[in-house]
Subunit: 495 residues, 2 copies
Amino acid sequence: MNPGTSEINFVSALDTHPEMRSVLCLFEGVVTGCADGYARMAGKPAASLLHLGPGLGNGIANLHNAKKAFTPMVNIVGQHAMRHLEYDAPLSCDIEGLAHPVSGWVKTTTDATLVAKDGAAAIAASQSPPGQVATLILPADTAWNEAESSCEPQPIQKPNPVPSDRISEIAHIIKTKENVVLLVGDHVLRSEKLQRITSSIAKKFGARFMAKWFGARIKRGASRPIIERLAYVVDQSLEILKGTEHLVLIGTVEPVGFFAYPNKPSLLAPPAAEKHVFANLNDDVEAALIALAAKLEVSDDPGELAILDRPALPSGKLDPDKIWESVSALMPENSIVSDEGVTASRIAGPLTQNAPAHDWLHVTGGAIGQGLPVATGAAVAAPDRQVFAMEADGSGMYTLQALWTQARESLNVVNIIFANRAYKILQVEMKKLCDNEDGPKSSSMMELDNPNLDWVQLSQGMGVPAVSVDTAEAFNEALKRGIEQSGPCLIEALV
Amino acid sequence: MNPGTSEINFVSALDTHPEMRSVLCLFEGVVTGCADGYARMAGKPAASLLHLGPGLGNGIANLHNAKKAFTPMVNIVGQHAMRHLEYDAPLSCDIEGLAHPVSGWVKTTTDATLVAKDGAAAIAASQSPPGQVATLILPADTAWNEAESSCEPQPIQKPNPVPSDRISEIAHIIKTKENVVLLVGDHVLRSEKLQRITSSIAKKFGARFMAKWFGARIKRGASRPIIERLAYVVDQSLEILKGTEHLVLIGTVEPVGFFAYPNKPSLLAPPAAEKHVFANLNDDVEAALIALAAKLEVSDDPGELAILDRPALPSGKLDPDKIWESVSALMPENSIVSDEGVTASRIAGPLTQNAPAHDWLHVTGGAIGQGLPVATGAAVAAPDRQVFAMEADGSGMYTLQALWTQARESLNVVNIIFANRAYKILQVEMKKLCDNEDGPKSSSMMELDNPNLDWVQLSQGMGVPAVSVDTAEAFNEALKRGIEQSGPCLIEALV
């Protein structure tokens, strides 16, 4: 939360509701990212408390990511008292207008007696399959007026059953066709059980088991199925999907390039490939996959699983590969990786595949500034697990205030900053798209070295102990210490 | 600017357009605040460059402030190539939906050949009286496709003339009625000439010359008219306006409380007072005031002006009063004050009234996180003037990334952080509104002392030299050094 005057009665009520935990963040982009990270790990919604339109505005980028992750979340956004709305007060703003682009459910409560009912509706709505952002706007007078009513929890919408003829149809395709890709969405990625079922089907019939480049929460690492992934780079994804004749969509939609480029297609699957929707996003993917496996007479035999095979600790001059090797060598079992390494993360998949079992949280909507807040929220949800925030320096600066909340709540987060002192992804994209890649003015818009950011001071300034390293040996040591100690720390990795 | 892939061709073009200055900011809230500060001081629009919906989202809070300041501004927001929009790419987002609540003009360009025309239209629209935010959304293919067309600057809408019978009517009221308040808006506040005209009218007929609590840019200090101001606190404003029988609105609307409170009115003027609209926001306020003065046979005789009367340098334990006294004692003539001191600024008006002539920039929309970015943009617009960012610690954390841009551009900004280590305004509001003001949980949501923010490290981490002080003597010394040196600095004032 980051409350203001319009929400002050709500804040005041916290002291009479010990069952609610309130976590203060110093910027709303941290609040919403934190709520997203919490829900991804807890599997149930967190609520954010935001101050009017501008507070919601500050939270929009990470709400966009949460929307794309199908994260259940309830935003409580304060509003002026109803009678105040007709005047042009400084903070007057079209809050509903701002909320709609990032919310699946939006409502303004008009009377104190309706708060309980609307609140219950928001909580239920947030959990409508596959999960969504629900924004409840509460005018100040709905908090300060009397409300005698209360409300029972409201029923949560059930996922739609997948019709049996569709299951038969897809079973027939998998059984009889060649070059089949089973493309899964977040339902499967977050469930070891569904991963095993899908992998068992793929193995038995020679299909490929594949996911997009991003996932809200991926269970992976040792003893879990190995899932092929599409790439950020369009040409690589085209190559990966080359030869696909049947694309079976399991709780996801057709894959599309992260960006469009001249003379490259938007859609990544071959145009000749047939697309088959097995389960929509709001379908009961679990029941459907179980039924499909039964239909196909597939037992639990997922084929080759990732083995535990930690790399040797790296040495010498530090680079992103060595950082991932070191993390893979040292991460405790059941760790959580919040990944916003951007260019430094392209190679992370194979380098961590054989680390102990862990959860991986991607930036789902491409809005940078997610990594530190999502790590923070994940650590609130899972206090007994080690969290790693793998963060690029450029994107880390968007919501660096998350570090303060980590210190305040003594969260077990090791923040690793890939300090390449550039918007490197833009340098790469400019080379792809423009002729004059070396122009001094345009180049300088992608350089973060004038002045250099000092992440040790930034971190310590918010109460998180920090160290800067430029060798693999020093990185290994810092990482070991960070894992051993409780509470947060930060490693500025000069790469 | 803070560009992304969709805007990369635009960035690349900077090298062939030396007449454009590009300033990199590490977060879009800094970008939009910076553009606002630039326009307030330069009197002409700056453009922002933002990356898709999330980039715009991050800029919304300061766009809200810019909207309320009637700042002319052009946002260029990237968008996916048109053909990419039908797919669910990660960054797909209803950009127009996000733009409308903070923009007076929104357009998506659909073809490369229309960019020049739409760009010229955006620039003209931004300057429609009284000034507004114009948002132009440019799909990536409009930047990478060929565009043979160019476009002349488009005509800017003129302010509406105030009809002569309205001028006569108001002249009659001023001449014949008692207890008249002349309430002025930003047109008058930013113009010494219009201040003198209004003050001359007020003096001759015994009316009061008054402004709201906030102004986009107020010319004030020695040798300028003294303008009464309404207060943040509703009861104080009610008291100030008590007895008003005629409220004449000169380029502004009726004053309203910053927030609503139970059992307090929203509108601040006495219900019995007659409201008279002299000039609307988009009227030609200057011509109308000149005509009014002529009608009333008022010459340039504004009455008592503020005299130059610097206070003695303060001593002893530091507090906000002493900080303002020190600033008033040391500020060079023609300084610019970006004021986001929140509770520490309540007393700033009288304490700086007799400082040398200066410009004062308020937070116009109540969205915190404006102070450092607006100071940064003001310093870009006015490189020969000393800028002071008077910043509360809580609000400063919202957009602290502005410091890096100050360092990068060697801007003459002295950043003064009122470090009271609390959201003090919320503590005050909670006392007004709630019974259980001392609840430990709710209280802790307003305390920033666990852990303490170390502004010296935060500032140095972004390349801005900084010092922490807790005595007036040390503050005076730090302020002197900051003014003498070129480039930015920061003073953490423990109060």
